[in-house]
Structure formats: structure tokens, C-alpha cells
Symmetry: D2
């Protein structure tokens, strides 16, 4: 497979942007293999994801960003990010005690489904060390107490930095992440919440769903922001329940949802198909 | 089709209830054609719905309730309701300006899908009079203002009483029902809320869903209680949306959900398959 | 709302098409409000739907088609269709005895949901005349026998031609359309089949689904081709069933699916968002 | 948790069965904790699943089957099976090259989700040996050729017998099982087929789905019978696709379906909630 460049951008909408950008790539001999664009007519913002083969591209790989900045980004007030398909993002997984999301991601990783590297797993409990070991991935234990939380997080961040981690996945990690870490990884910490947000924010959502008597439960994967369970939503899904389902049955059905929803969100992130804007996401097809 | 009796009951669970009740029907030559039961092991409550043909039943139709009360209800502390399939419940529809739920229900009614009578439609706006006329159903206009609300509701309740209305369906009726009416029809006012409750309670849920950036929207049909949008849920369903969907598109997709969810809930109610208990429902299959 | 032009096209894929077409519209002062494109990399075909406001467009409305043909269609081997938002397509509905799809479409039509005209309803049975009358739409009865089929269809086609009908919706019309009519309306006859095609082709699909013991049933809306139930699929949806559901219950649950699936497909067609290619459809977002 | 007995039965329907069976358990001091019953009014068959705590049951555990046979089964022409919750069924997994279903089941097994033992994994290819090793489960390789198939299957069956295997799960095992093995495990071989059966029977269903242009794909778990992909269906589910999805994308989305659908079916089987009758299943709630 040929190496591709992936460009995600957004800017105030105005006539001609799409034509100019595609023209720029085409006249420089880039073969466009993917294009998806969208205009938010409420906010008047133009969003675009474009991917092209760079084998014959006139502009050298390491200068594309610079050229694009000069030629278009400044002109249109664009924010953009450029990725190359031959650079694997590095992902850290945070877990606590529940294994279903972790197993699901490591199975995909081992089977080669995801173009990603997972250099390490971090946990505040030792329970899932055996899972990490089964898959041969280093496991780091950082027990958290009220007293040591800030300190432990700093140690975690040093470890993440040392391994050049690009983004973090909270796979049912049962700790609120503090602001210092959230700000270090803006829209780069993916969480799975075990409810159909914004219903049942916070702890014990299955108990709350059971109490309310809903007929459908859900799971939500979102980027972590400083407001609890309120970050940009990447993916959601639901499953039907009945009055016969106990809380334990909700937990069991919910686990299947959680792992699938989280893995879909992570895949979209890995493939650079998520663009967060304000508190929402554009998910490119 | 033979006339059937439908018995819905609940009581504290204890051994032998199911055996006794089915035995009671069988030895009195009732042919059981439906049985569904469920035990809530948290609350320790036994719920049951049983239906049998009464053609050869030893106990006369008009004495079944009395016999059952004496023989079982008192013994087990049961609450029960008894219905006969040859008695059509009478249903009133309340509407305001949106026609989709009203059309959907009247189409089913006209096609003979529902074993119900709809003697009248009530509205606080004249907009949908033409729909009522197309289907030949009397339409009563009760404009509501802050000042006349209690008075108009009383007039509505007189009208409902005069027509022996058993239950009310709020088909996107854009008025909060006051306590006096809710208490007159406990668990007999069915509402459709245009969100996946408990998310987006109150007004303009599609706008709220759009703002929050959810990936799925829903609709919820529930019995009306004095707490807004918090009554026992009968039915819910959802549909997937994307960042491309505008508020208008959410409204449009939501309408299809609303009418199907409401009609499913109404059908369950007509078939006597809903048993509300505390703030939840048991939906018999 | 300003009048828009809607252009749907496909052609062999090659670099620059997207840039050229968007450029063509932009430099001629068309304000692009919608663009969706897709490349089928298996067949190497480029598909595009673009919509722009024509108020300030340099090229007169009645010459756009001609200019586009000369400038681009010939150059790229394009097939394209051009529509204007101020021209309502004319739709005929064919029915037999079941009313649910008919009611659903007429309710939408009456509520102004669809930008379409429905000048007439055709049926081979008198049963649904009352529905047409409720909505004030002319109803034409063409009883069909083996002997008179070709003749009656010819009479129908004359009637359709007289009313400048653009496309036909078979709303549970229980007659196979013959080749002469299909060829007169290529990809312009929309059918609803009451199964999840290609499962259960032909008659009595709910009975077949019941016999097979499936756990989910579906409905499929597709363009009619000369091969039975094998035309390009526009929309499908499904609903979960259980072993408790009788054939009658499948029919009942299926009706709700059928009407929603058919109406979604018709809406997509009305909005010019369906492009049939070979035996498949591109559904623009 | 107290040990329970689980009784599944079916017989020609007649009045009094339910009352008699529940009475039998109650008067012998069995505490009924689950009951689900269903009457197929087409075939006139009564189906029932009942579960009770046997701690204080008058009849000794090892005589229940005998007593029930004498007292009820002969009288009513019942077929029944009796299980105890403290006996774990033994399950063998057959795989070939695809790991997703295997990983999913072993993750659940390792997490203690299933009340089952998995003494061994059998494969016709060495590819997934590493997965078995990660989870510490013996892996047996039986390469299959046209010539050695019957012989290898016999060796497999000896191995299964030696380990007292109760049922087999084909986790994307890419070999047709021959009659000798199917007859040795009637309704005890669970397969996952990667389509929404009966659509796309046989090989390469995702390619066939792509060719047909369906808008939804599915997966089906069923018991294996001698007719290919035609056995009793236990569970199905679907996911929406679009024209943009390539065959590879269908495969990817399908994998998530397959593993969830298969694991749901296996769980139902383990919990003794599936009763196959003729070519259909009754799935108890």
C-alpha cells in the first residue's frame, strides 16, 4: 500500500476552499483517494478530510505542512492537522479492574486490525496485570489515593512522555483524571462511559437506569474534558432491555456495548477520522 | 374469536401463587391461552398476566371479580384488574399543532388494527381540526391561557366523563397537564416525549440533543405523573444521527420515532399488557 | 428559501473532476450549499451530488444543462441529471388492499413534509378508495385479470403520461408490474418488499420468516427491475422478533417497518439523493 | 448461591400442565426462582423452563429425573431435560484462522462470565495456537484434507469423548462438519454464520452482500444440522452499512457482529435457555 497524507482542517466557510484545496493536491500530482467535507451552516464552519498518495507528490513530505500553512491556512484562517499513514500513533491504555474493554482492544491489536502501537498499560489496581502479560505488554501499577493522586499522575505523565504516547484510552478506568493531564492531552483522552449520555452522568449508571425503568441502555465514548462526562461524543450505541433484566443483567449487556463502542471510537481516532470542534465531533465517513 | 378474560395482578411473592391461580382457572374449565409472569426479586413482588376463554367457565362473567377477590386477592394481598376482550376501552386523543402522531393513530384505528374506541379529539389549537374531520371524529377546541387553564381542564374532564373515556393519549400535546387531571387518570394518561428519557427532559429536546452532539436520538412513551417527564416508561426507541444532521433533520427523524413509539405504547395499553408498579412498568409479552 | 440547482453525476474516476466542477460553480457565482462525493474504487467510478443557489449564477437557469454537457460531461464521459428545487416532482401511488403505507405517505404529504405532488392514486381493488377520498386525491380503479393485464397497464400508462407523472410508488401493490411499464420508468418505480432482501423473495415472506425461525424481520425498498425483488436497494430496516411472535404478529410489526422504510426511500428519491448505478444505489447524505 | 435444578420440557398442550408442574415443585418445598412458558398455538405444543432451589426439596437430587418421568412425562408425553447449576457443561471450540470470536469467548471465560469449562481447542490450521497458549488452554491440530477428513473427525470425536465434551462451538471454523459428528452432537454444535440467514447461505457472504447492494448486514448463530446453514437459529443481529463500505469494511464491521452474536448464543446455551424444536428454537428469557 502506498503511503498517504491525511489532512484534516476546518475554517470559516467561504466559496472556493474545496476547489482550491483539491486543486492544490491534484496539480501537484497527488492522487486523492478519499475526500469528505461538511459545512456547519449554523456556525458557518467548513470541515474537510482529504487523503492522497504522496509517491509522486511534487512537494517533499517534510515540507507539505509548511507549504500548506503558507498557501492556504493563513489565507482562510484554517486550523489543520497533517498525518502520514506510515507513522503509527502510540496509544496508552488505562484500566482498573474490569477486563472486557482491555481484552477487546488487545485482541484487535494482536490480530493486526489497528494501525497503532500500544507500548504500555497503566493501572491503579494490580488485577489486570495477568491480561497485560498474556499479550506481552508492559504493565505499570500506580495505586492512587487522595493524598498521592497529583504526584502519581505526574509520574504517569513522565512515563507517557518517555514513550511518546500520542493518546490515551480509559478502558473503564475508575478514576477521575485531573486537569493537569487533561490539558496535556486535549481531545486525546478517550473514555467509555457506561450510559447513553447525557443520561446517567457519574457513578453507577446501570443502577440509575434500573431505578428509572428505561427500556434501552447505552454506552458513550467521548473525549475527556474537565467537566465530568461532558466532553465531545465520538460514538454511542444502545441495546434493548426489559423489566426482567436485573442490574447484574444490565451490567452484563452493557459490557458488550461498552467494548464495541469504545473500540469503534478508538478505531476512528486511529484512522484520523475524528475532528473535535467546540464540544462536538465531526466523524468523517 | 371467543371472549376472553384478562387478569393482571401483583402481590408479595410467595410459593404457590402461580400454581393456585392457574389451577383456579383450569378446574373451573377456563382454557388458558396466555400466561406471562415475572418475579421482581429486588422488591419481592410477583407479577402475572393470564388470559383465558370464558365460554365454558363455571363462574359467571359478572362474578369472576368478586370470587377472585374473596378467594385469592385477600389471601395474598393482591392488587388485580380484570378485563374482558369484548369490552372496548375508550380513548381520547389530545393534540396541539403537530399531526404525525395523530395521523398514525387514526390510520391504525380506521384500518381496524386496535380494539379501541376513539369518541373524541381534544385540542388547544384549531390547526388539526381538518385531520379529525377527515376521519369523522368529533373535535373539541379548548384554547388554554394561564388564566383559564384550570377551568378549561375541568370542562375537558366533564367531556371525558360524559363519554366514559378510560384513558388519554397526549399526541404531542404542548401543554403540561395539571395535577387534578393526572390524579383523575392515574397511569391512564400516555405521553410521547421527543427524547430518550431521562436525557433532555423538558422543552426543545432536539435542540438540546443537537447542542450536546449526541450520535443517537430517541423517543419515550410514558404514563404522566405529576413530576414532569418522570413517569413510568412504557416504550422507547432510538435512531442514529450524524454531525451532518441539523436540528430540522433531528425533528424530521424524530417524528418517525415518536409516532411508532407512541403507537406501540398505546397498543400495549389497549391490549392490557402494561402493569405500572411504583415508577416502572412491567410489559407483558 | 432560494432556488437551488441539484446536480447528480457519475463518470470514470480521474484526477481533477471534483476540483473542476466545484470551480465551475464557484467562479460563476454559485453558492455551494451541499456537496457529497464518493469514489467506487472497485469499479473506478466517481459519483457526486452538488447543490448550489442559482440567484446570482452567471449562467441562465435554462442553459446550465447545455453548458455543463459541453464543458464537462463530454470531456469526462459523465452521465448527469440536473434538477431545480422549485420544480416539484409528480408521484403516483399504486395500492391494493393494505392501507398502512398509503396513510403514512398521505399524512406526510398533507403535513407538507415532502416537496412533491401526488395527482392520483391507482388501484386494482376498490378497498382503499375511502382513503384517497379522505385526502381529496383522485382514485382510479383498474381491476386486473390475467386476460386484461397488458391492456389495463396501457391505460394506466396513458393516465400517468397525461398527468406528467415522474415516478411511481408501489405501496404494497399486489401485482407484478410488467416489462413495458418498468422500461417506461427505469429506476423510477419504488417498491416496498416485506422482507429483508435477498431473504424471502416473492410471496408470503412473513410466513417464510416464521417457518425459518428467524429472530429478526425486515423490510426493503428498492427500484423495480424486470427481475422480481432484485432491483437496486434504496433502504432497509429490521425489527427484532421472538419465538412468541405468530405470523399475525410478524405482519403487524412488519407493517410499521414497511411504512417507515418506504417513506424514507421516497423522501430520498424526492430530494434527489439516490443515484442508481448498475444494480446498486449511491445514497447521498 | 444455592444450587438450582433447571427443567426444560415440551409436550402437546393441554389444560393443567403448568399448574401441575409448578404445584409438584411447590408442594415438595422447591423454591421456584424462574419460570417461563410458552404455547405454540400453531403446533399446539407447550414449552416450559422452570428453575428452583433444591436445598429443601423433598426429592433427592439424583431421583428427580426418575420421579418426574414417572409422574408427569409419561402422562403428558413430555420430552424434558434436567440440569443442575453446580454441574458445569464442557465446551470445545473449533477454529481455523480468524481470531476474533475465539478471543471474545476466551476473554469472557477468563473473566469468569460463563459457567462453563473449556478443556480444549481444536483447529485445522496452526495459526491460532498462540491464542490458546495465551489463555493456557490445550490446542489440538487436526489438518483436514479431502482424503483424511473422516479419519481426522473420528480422532477429534475420540478426543471430545475422552474429555466428556457436552457441546461444540464453531468459532469461524472453515470446514463443513460431516454427518457422523453432527449426529453425535444433535443441537449441540453451535455455529456462527457471517450473514443474516437465510440470505447469503454458503461461502463468501460479505462478497455476496456487497454485490447485492444491501444496506444492512448481519450475523446468525445456529445449531448445525446436516443441511448447510439451515439449522435452528439461536441469535441474530445486524449493523447498518452504506454504499461507501468496501468488502473489507463489511468484513471488519461483520467481525464485531459475529463475535457478539456467537457469544450471546453460547451464553444462552450454557444457561440452558435454548430449546430446539423441529427447526426452530424457543429462547427462554
Amino acid at each position: 500500500m502506498n503511503t498517504t497524507a491525511k489532512l484534516l482542517l476546518h475554517c470559516p466557510d467561504q466559496p472556493g476552499i474545496l476547489a482550491e484545496v483539491t486543486n492544490f493536491i491534484t496539480i501537484n500530482r497527488g492522487n486523492i483517494i478519499y475526500l469528505d467535507q461538511y459545512v456547519d451552516h449554523v456556525e458557518n464552519i467548513f470541515f474537510m478530510r482529504i487523503e492522497w498518495e504522496i509517491k509522486d507528490f511534487f512537494i517533499p513530505k517534510d515540507k507539505i505542512e509548511d507549504y500548506f500553512e503558507t498557501l492556504y491556512a493563513q489565507k482562510y484562517g484554517m486550523k489543520f492537522r497533517l498525518y502520514f499513514s506510515d507513522v503509527k500513533p502510540k496509544m496508552a491504555i488505562f484500566v482498573s479492574k474490569l477486563s472486557h474493554c482491555l481484552f477487546d482492544m488487545l485482541a484487535r491489536y494482536t490480530a493486526g486490525e489497528w494501525n497503532v502501537e500500544i507500548p504500555l498499560i497503566i493501572s491503579n489496581h494490580p488485577d489486570l496485570q495477568h491480561v497485560a502479560e498474556r499479550f506481552g505488554i508492559p504493565f505499570y501499577l500506580f495505586p492512587i489515593t487522595k493524598e498521592n493522586k497529583m504526584e502519581q499522575e505526574k509520574a504517569e505523565m513522565e512515563l507517557l512522555a518517555k514513550h511518546n504516547i500520542n493518546f490515551i484510552v480509559l478502558a473503564r478506568y475508575m478514576q477521575v483524571i485531573s486537569e493537569q493531564m487533561i490539558e496535556a492531552y486535549p481531545n486525546r483522552i478517550i473514555n467509555i462511559h457506561h450510559s447513553f449520555l447525557p443520561a446517567f452522568i457519574g457513578a453507577k449508571p446501570y443502577h440509575a437506569a434500573f431505578e428509572r425503568g428505561v427500556k434501552i441502555i447505552g454506552a458513550t465514548s467521548h473525549y475527556v474534558t474537565t467537566e465530568l462526562d461532558a466532553g465531545p461524543i465520538i460514538e454511542q450505541d444502545v441495546v434493548r432491555i426489559t423489566h426482567k433484566d436485573t442490574v447484574q443483567e444490565l451490567v452484563s449487556k452493557g459490557k458488550d456495548l461498552e467494548k464495541i463502542v469504545l473500540s469503534r471510537a478508538v478505531r476512528k481516532h486511529i484512522e484520523r477520522k475524528v475532528l473535535a470542534y467546540k464540544n462536538k465531533t465531526v466523524i468523517f465517513s
